[in-house]
């Protein structure tokens, strides 16, 4: 599938400069064949720089990639996994939150699942329609309706998480955003079908967790997951919105750090430069990971599946017991 050229991020600027230099030289190559050696050298330099750049990313660079406007969203994955995926709409009670996409998906003849994922929207109109990926309470209730549907029919569940968080608005509070999230946490923990979540971009606080209480949590290499946005943390703890870098580092929001904390179960590799550099490969990587994990969970009994999920969360926490 043809994709738009990736828009470079701030920290990718040196790469960009080099790349432009190479292009300029290449254009002169016909009239100046002697440039060939220079170009080759530059290209080598480019490859090296690229590798070292992406293997030494700061938290804030991961954050930038996770929020990249070309990052693949739930619908991008769904289209690639199963072009015939069947979307299911609505909470049945007045609302169909576009920030929460739900659908029935076949991975192969042996494996089908319900996918529930947040959706940010690509162009401005889609962004507005999707509320920039911030679900209303009704979005969480739509997800819950379909969680129960999947439970009833023994269909495994996959959730894709990429949200700044639950929407903090007047109506959202009126309609009890907190309760919508809390009920999902409780109901997800009681399901007896396998549930796996993948943080594909931003995992933003309770709004992410509301579809993230699962048997396995996977994170894409450059995705982030945190209890509050680094911006929010900086402004509360440092009382300065400029301390985002510090806050992002201090909170340990990256996939590898969270893996080290024992909270998630695996990190899915992204194409070099991030998932938006090759959506097809990103989608294939996620699908492969999901297939593997789902198949292993399907070997468990329903009661074991529930117990497995509850045990996972029961163990998370760091404390000291004095006596």
């Amino acid at each position: 599938m043809a994709e738009n050229k990736p828009i470079p991020l701030e920290f990718e600027k040196p790469l960009e400069v080099l790349s432009e230099q190479i292009t300029r030289l290449e254009q002169q190559l016909v009239s100046h064949p002697e440039l060939e050696a220079d170009i080759e050298k530059l290209q080598e330099q480019y490859s090296k720089l690229k590798k070292s750049l992406y293997s030494n990313l700061k938290s804030i660079d991961h954050l930038a990639i996770a929020r990249h406007p070309q990052r693949p969203y739930t619908r991008d994955y769904l289209e690639r996994w199963d072009p015939n995926w069947l979307e299911l709409h609505g909470d049945r009670k007045g609302s169909d939150d576009q920030a929460m996409v739900c659908g029935l998906v076949r991975f192969d003849d042996e494996l089908r699942c319900l996918v529930v994922g947040t959706q940010k929207g690509r162009d401005l109109r889609a962004k507005q329609r999707c509320n920039f990926g911030m679900p209303q309470p009704e979005g969480y209730r739509k997800a819950l309706r379909l969680f129960h549907h999947a439970e009833k029919f023994g269909i495994p569940i996959v959730t894709l998480i990429d949200t700044p968080g639950a929407y903090p608005g007047l109506e959202a509070e009126e309609h009890n955003q907190a309760q919508a999230i809390a009920v999902n946490l409780l109901e997800l923990s009681g399901l007896t079908v396998p549930v796996i979540s993948v943080v594909t971009g931003e995992g933003g606080s309770g709004g992410a967790l509301a579809i993230g209480v699962t048997n396995r949590i996977l994170m894409l290499e450059h995705s982030v997951y945190s209890v509050i946005s680094p911006e929010g943390c900086a402004s509360i703890l440092w009382r300065s919105s400029e301390k985002v870098l510090e806050a992002a580092e201090a909170m340990r929001i990256t996939a590898r750090e969270i893996l080290a904390l024992g909270v998630i179960d695996g990190v899915i590799e992204e194409p070099l430069g991030g998932a938006h550099h090759d959506m097809d490969m990103a989608a294939a990587n996620v699908k492969a990971a999901l297939t593997r994990e789902l198949k292993s969970l399907l070997a468990l009994s329903p009661a074991e599946i529930r117990k497995d999920r509850q045990n996972k969360y029961r163990k998370i926490g760091a404390f000291v017991e004095a006596n």
Partner: protein, 314 residues
């Protein structure tokens, strides 16, 4: 999701002194302060012992002073019936978190200042003779924020209720999650809610009491999962804080936004109670939710339905 401290302090200031009440009297010295306390709302000078006897509710204007976990337990549990569990569980510092100061240092300071180990006290007690598991949060410790210790203690309390087959009561008061524990603090929402699923499946009653203030992750987990939810008069409760919302929607919020009465109007709580009504109502509801008929010959009481409610001590 942490709420804004300014929010609830500003609300107090906004409340106007009532004209027909005694004019303000400036505080004179420390001794005087210990004996007398001025009402935030009506500015009446109140004798500290009287105020305490009135459960820290101003007898003139019914203003509900914020109270600590120990006072709350005293108000709810029968005398000497509270048996604390997990008393000395202490925060670790899994992220070795430092902002303008180190988390580990802030913890010690919070402990010293509040006289508490952590932001929640848990245990079993009796309420008018009914056994219950009781958890009470204390806003004075780290803004009642939920980190690993709060999550673990609340989870163990729920497990205790299941084990002893007694109803559960939690009084919440929290600014949100403990940012200094990062993703671990977020996961406490899942851990506590998951334990509540087991409690619910066991058919046990859970009454959640929302006290001023309850926000963020605590609201978005156990505080909103009660079979019965009570908001205490004067409490403000929500998911996001007022200022965050105002910044998002660029609009003024209604004056009663996130007050107990607002929650009631929007169907989020079963009732709003004055502090003085809470203990009686709890006892009443625990009793109501017990199976009334213990006669083994009556099919309804023995048939497959799980036993609920508490055992009553004679």
């Amino acid at each position: 999701m942490a709420m804004d401290l300014k929010d609830w302090f500003s609300n107090r200031r906004k409340r106007r002194e009532r004209e027909n009440l005694v004019p303000k009297q400036p505080l004179s010295n420390e001794e005087y302060c210990a004996l007398w306390k001025q009402c935030f709302q009506c500015r009446e000078m109140l004798y500290a012992r009287d105020l305490r006897h009135n459960l820290h509710v101003c007898p003139k204007c019914q203003y509900h002073f914020r109270i600590g976990a120990e006072e709350r337990i005293e108000q709810i549990a029968d005398p000497d019936s509270f048996v604390e569990i997990d008393q000395k569980m202490d925060s670790a510092d899994p992220l070795e978190f430092v902002d303008t100061d180190a988390y580990s240092k802030r913890q010690k300071q919070a402990q010293k200042k509040s006289g508490l180990y952590e932001a929640v006290l848990t245990g079993t007690c009796r309420i008018n003779g009914h056994d219950a598991a009781l958890g009470v949060m204390d806003f004075a410790f780290f803004g009642g924020s939920m980190g690993s210790v709060v999550g673990e203690k609340v989870t163990r309390l729920i497990e205790k209720a299941i084990e002893e087959h007694i109803p559960l009561i939690i009084v919440s008061s929290s600014g949100g999650a403990r940012m200094q524990e990062g993703i671990l603090s977020l996961m406490q929402l899942a851990k506590t809610s998951s334990a509540l699923k087991d409690l619910s499946d066991a058919g046990l009653l859970y009454i959640s009491i929302l006290s001023e203030p309850t926000f963020g992750g605590v609201t978005a987990s156990f505080a909103m999962l009660g079979d019965i939810i009570i908001a205490e008069r004067g409490a403000r409760v929500g998911f996001a804080g007022r200022r965050v919302i105002e910044q998002t929607i660029r609009q003024k919020l209604p004056a009663d936004f996130q007050t107990a009465e607002y929650l009631l109007k929007h169907g989020q709580v079963d009732m709003v109670l004055d502090r003085l009504q809470i203990k009686e109502t709890l006892a009443n509801m625990i009793q109501f939710h017990q199976p009334l008929v213990e006669d083994p010959n009556r099919a309804f009481s023995k048939n497959g339905r799980s036993k609920v409610g508490s055992r009553t001590k004679k």
